[in-house]
């Protein structure tokens, strides 16, 4: 056993890459839940984004088109959910679960002719001056663009929710939809847009898996990442930067435990395997000691007549 065999820079680089799909999906779901909607279909939207992004990238040769398609794919799928829950007032939990099942099947159908194909390489940040900095270059400045985009996205969501009028309205809708409605806001439309934003983010997260992290298309390849993202939003108390922290801890400990195994560290593997879940939960639960609670209208059905 030789712990020095693990390169910290490589470890950080790997953990950031491993965390990004969950982070993207979770930051989208955060906005959805802030608007008072519980969409359990994250897994379904991710996998749809994964195949939309993959197929489009392969067909057009452009990863950027792929990302766009992944966002559109995730958003379209979430639109089904939004219409059913917001206009037809269906149960959000059941509809979200159905969306996951639908997404898994739908993506398998589209993906049939895309197995075993190699997508074009996704562009990486490539500034020699930055890449060559020892440690920092490899750890932080040699990622694909989507990693930086995901952090910008978190910043944008944080800023939007905290400092903009529109963000305040969205939160109001999530806290008390009747009051928001009474003062003249269109609750249904705001929620519809929030759900679609969540769908686009989940789609982007899925595309990260199929275009960058793995990169290949395999049926069912999200393998539960969507559920992790969902749990993360709750444990992060619906706060954008805690979602980043949670995603990086989860991804980090996952990567760390694989690396510890690879160097042959003498800790029972069972502990290493459960470490990502436990560490993430413990850290975020301790941090949520300030009793931040869920948006008050989360998951409740709204109809203007009530």
């Amino acid at each position: 056993m030789d712990l020095s065999a693990i390169s910290p820079a490589a470890l950080i680089a790997a953990l950031i890459a491993a965390s990004t799909p969950i982070l993207l999906a979770a930051i989208g779901e955060l906005v959805v839940e802030k608007a008072g909607v519980l969409n359990l279909g994250v897994e379904g939207m991710m996998i749809t984004g994964a195949i939309f992004g993959f197929a489009t990238t392969v067909e057009t040769g452009s990863p950027w088109m792929g990302l766009l398609a992944a966002m559109v794919g995730g958003a379209i799928l979430s639109l089904i959910f939004a219409v059913l829950t917001q206009y037809f007032l269906s149960n959000q939990v059941a509809t979200g679960l159905a969306l996951t099942l639908f997404g898994l099947g739908f993506s398998a159908l589209i993906g049939q002719s895309y197995t075993g194909i190699k997508p074009p390489t996704f562009p990486h940040l490539n500034i020699a001056a930055l890449n060559d900095i020892p440690f920092w270059g490899r750890a932080f400045f040699s990622h694909d663009y989507l990693v930086y985009l995901s952090i910008l996205l978190v910043f944008a969501v944080w800023y939007y929710l905290k400092f903009t009028r529109s963000g305040l309205i969205l939160r109001a809708v999530g806290e008390n939809h009747d009051a928001a409605h009474a003062i003249g806001y269109n609750v249904t439309r705001i929620r519809l847009l929030a759900v679609m934003f969540g769908g686009a983010c989940a789609g982007l997260g899925g595309a990260y898996l199929s275009l960058i992290q793995v990169p290949q298309w395999t049926q069912g390849m999200t393998a539960g990442a969507g559920w992790i993202a969902l749990a993360l939003v709750v444990f992060a108390s619906w706060k954008p930067w805690r979602v980043v922290l949670g995603a990086y801890i989860f991804g980090g400990v996952s990567i760390l435990q694989l690396n510890l195994q690879a160097v042959g560290v003498n800790i029972p593997v069972a502990y290493l395997s459960m470490a990502p879940y436990i560490v993430t939960i413990v850290v975020l639960v301790i941090m949520s000691g300030d009793r931040t609670s869920a948006p008050a209208s989360l998951g409740r059905v709204f109809h203007a007549s009530n």
């Binding site: 790997a14 042959g264 069972a270």
Partner: protein, 357 residues
């Protein structure tokens, strides 16, 4: 009234009284899979077997499958549903379905069950598995010859005898041709999670591994190997498409002949509970085409191992072999018995690390 009839029919099925009523129709065969049929690995190959049944018997059979069924209570529910809807033969294709199969089989004595890679049998439960370790010995030999860093990575799923046996067989074969070889084993505790398998491959490569073996179901590790310019082996399925340069050869599971034969036995009424464990000789384990990256002499020596195993001259577990702790296991020339192999829960001498408990 109709629902009453349905309930009555369901009860009759549940009690196993309806055998005669269904005798005229096609034989219903159910499959329950642990991953998606499109995994292009383990489950994909089982589904190829299912398709072979349909091809062989046409409208005399009717096959159904349920994919991505978690090991545990869900498996029991799915198999119960299959039995209730008239399946007379059910293939459960993952080790972790073992107890679920036993429970459901007790409730449906007239339904035959076939459980892959398990060891619990009953009058209506057969077990079957392939001697994948024979294939592991072949790829272990090739890996030992091909590695430049003398470090071979192994992505393992769950610490069950099946997986441990594969690690041991591959290690012994690699060690034999390369005394300096070192195995780096990472347990991912999943059969199918492409992202995690890819991360594990990356972690291994980071540690200087230049050949990767896997005992998980997706081609993710192959994709990473191709990207990083190292070698890997196709697992369960050929996987050539995923690593045209990385793939050295592959261990292919060929279940089709066995499935066709078992369906016939049920049709003829000759089916009996049994345990099948076939390998290279019976064609259940196939070695894929050798890549041209393998030098000719290695191709030749690998082929000699395949031929030797096929003719019975070579057994991958031939003594002298010590267990990891140094205690003797097999004396010189002694060959491991199937019982020990089937329950293998120890590493052989030279492998570093502990098996997760």
């Amino acid at each position: 009234m109709k629902s009453l009839k349905t309930i009555a029919a369901g009860l009759a099925l549940a009690l196993g009284l309806s055998g005669a009523a269904h005798a005229g129709g096609p034989l219903k065969v159910g499959f329950i899979y642990v991953g998606p049929v499109g995994d292009l690995g383990w489950t994909y190959q089982h589904d190829q077997g299912r398709k072979a049944i349909e091809k062989a018997y046409g409208d005399k059979v009717e096959t159904t499958y349920v994919e991505s069924v978690p090991e545990g209570a869900d498996a029991e529910r799915v198999m119960t549903q299959m039995a209730l809807s008239g399946a007379k033969l059910i293939f459960a294709t993952s080790f972790g379905y073992m107890d679920a199969v036993q429970n459901v089989a007790k409730k449906f004595p007239n339904v035959k069950f076939e459980h892959a890679t398990g060891y619990k049998r009953a009058p209506n439960v057969s077990t079957y598995s392939a001697r994948f370790y024979e294939g592991r010995a072949v790829i272990g030999h090739i890996a030992g010859k091909m590695t430049k860093t003398n470090k071979i990575g192994y992505i393992a799923s769950f610490p069950i005898p099946e997986v441990i046996r594969g690690i041991n067989a591959a290690y012994l074969a690699a060690k034999k041709v390369n005394p300096d070889v070192q195995f780096k084993i990472v347990w991912v505790f999943t059969w199918f999670d492409p992202a995690k398998e890819a991360d594990a491959a990356n972690a291994l490569i980071e540690q200087g591994v230049d050949v990767i073996m896997q005992h998980t179901d997706s081609p993710a590790a192959m994709t990473i190997a191709e990207k990083k310019g190292i070698y890997a082996f196709g697992q369960a399925s050929d996987m050539k498409k995923f690593g045209p340069n990385a793939r050295l050869t592959s261990i292919i599971d060929n279940w089709a002949p066995y499935y066709v034969q078992e369906v016939k036995a049920v049709m003829d009424g000759t089916w009996k509970s049994h345990d099948t464990w076939d390998g290279i000789k019976a064609g259940m384990v196939e070695i894929g085409e050798f890549s041209d990256k393998i030098p000719d002499d290695v191709k030749k020596s690998a082929q000699a191992i395949i031929d030797g195993i096929e003719s019975g001259k070579i057994h991958p577990f031939t003594g002298p072999i010590n267990k990891q702790d140094g205690t003797p296991w097999l004396k010189a020339g002694e060959v491991a018995d199937d019982g020990t192999l089937a329950g293998m829960n120890f590493y052989v001498e030279g492998i570093e690390g502990k098996i997760p408990q």
